[in-house]
């Protein structure tokens, strides 16, 4: 079985080359960030397959990757906001609005489906 898992892991790793291409190409910073997100998720998958192929203790590494997967993206959206420390769901005009919980921008409600 471990040969199968390693073969799957190799294929999964190869598919991440597409993400590398997208990071190179851009064009928007958001494209680059989400391609990194893809590498993160794919990386978790590769770790899981390696764990199945050799040592289940490796699951902890996958857990760390999954736990910290969102951090870079959060730092990114913060950096993209007006004053570099906001939240894209806030009122984009006045960055300080977010500290007031009653401020809700019409049409930008996060739960609108």
């Amino acid at each position: 079985m471990s040969a199968w898992f390693l073969a799957f892991a190799t294929l999964l790793l190869l598919s991440l080359a597409g993400a590398l291409w997208r990071i190179w190409r851009g064009p928007e910073p958001a494209d680059r960030m989400m391609a990194a997100q893809l590498v993160g998720t794919g990386g978790v998958g590769v770790v899981l397959l390696l764990a199945a192929a050799s040592d289940w203790q490796m699951l902890d590494v996958a857990l760390v990757l999954a736990l910290l997967a969102a951090f870079a993206a959060i730092a990114f959206v913060k950096a993209q906001s007006v004053d570099g420390s906001g939240d894209p769901e806030e009122d984009p005009v006045s960055p300080a609005a977010g500290t007031d919980p009653t401020t809700i921008q019409p049409g930008r409600a996060p739960d609108a489906r």
Partner: protein, 96 residues
């Protein structure tokens, strides 16, 4: 062994979804569609992979960890997709 066959089929299916996500990030025309493609396809792929590998897990502790990994990945993907998409929308608004 039937468990091995289930594992291989589920992992193979998971891999197909990962490839679909990669195809999406390469081929889709704009930022928001690409975002949509990869956050969904990838996490289905990871879920199938985890379901398949759970049949091989040596103990229940590892199954628990596998489930926790998928839960964390889903929460992270849902959060980042929402935030990055809205950030990208705002960048489009300001550049126009």
């Amino acid at each position: 062994m039937p468990a091995d066959i289930v594992t291989l089929v589920l992992c193979g299916a998971g891999l197909v979804f990962f490839f679909a996500g990669t195809a999406g990030i390469i081929r889709f025309p704009d930022t928001l569609t690409r975002l949509h493609a990869l956050t969904k396809a990838d996490n289905v792929g990871l879920g199938l992979l985890i379901t398949g590998l759970a049949f091989q897990a040596p103990d229940w502790q590892s199954v628990g960890k596998l489930v926790l990994i998928w839960a964390m990945a889903l929460i992270a993907a849902g959060t980042t997709a929402q935030l990055v998409a809205r950030s990208a929308l705002q960048q489009q608004d300001t550049s126009q």
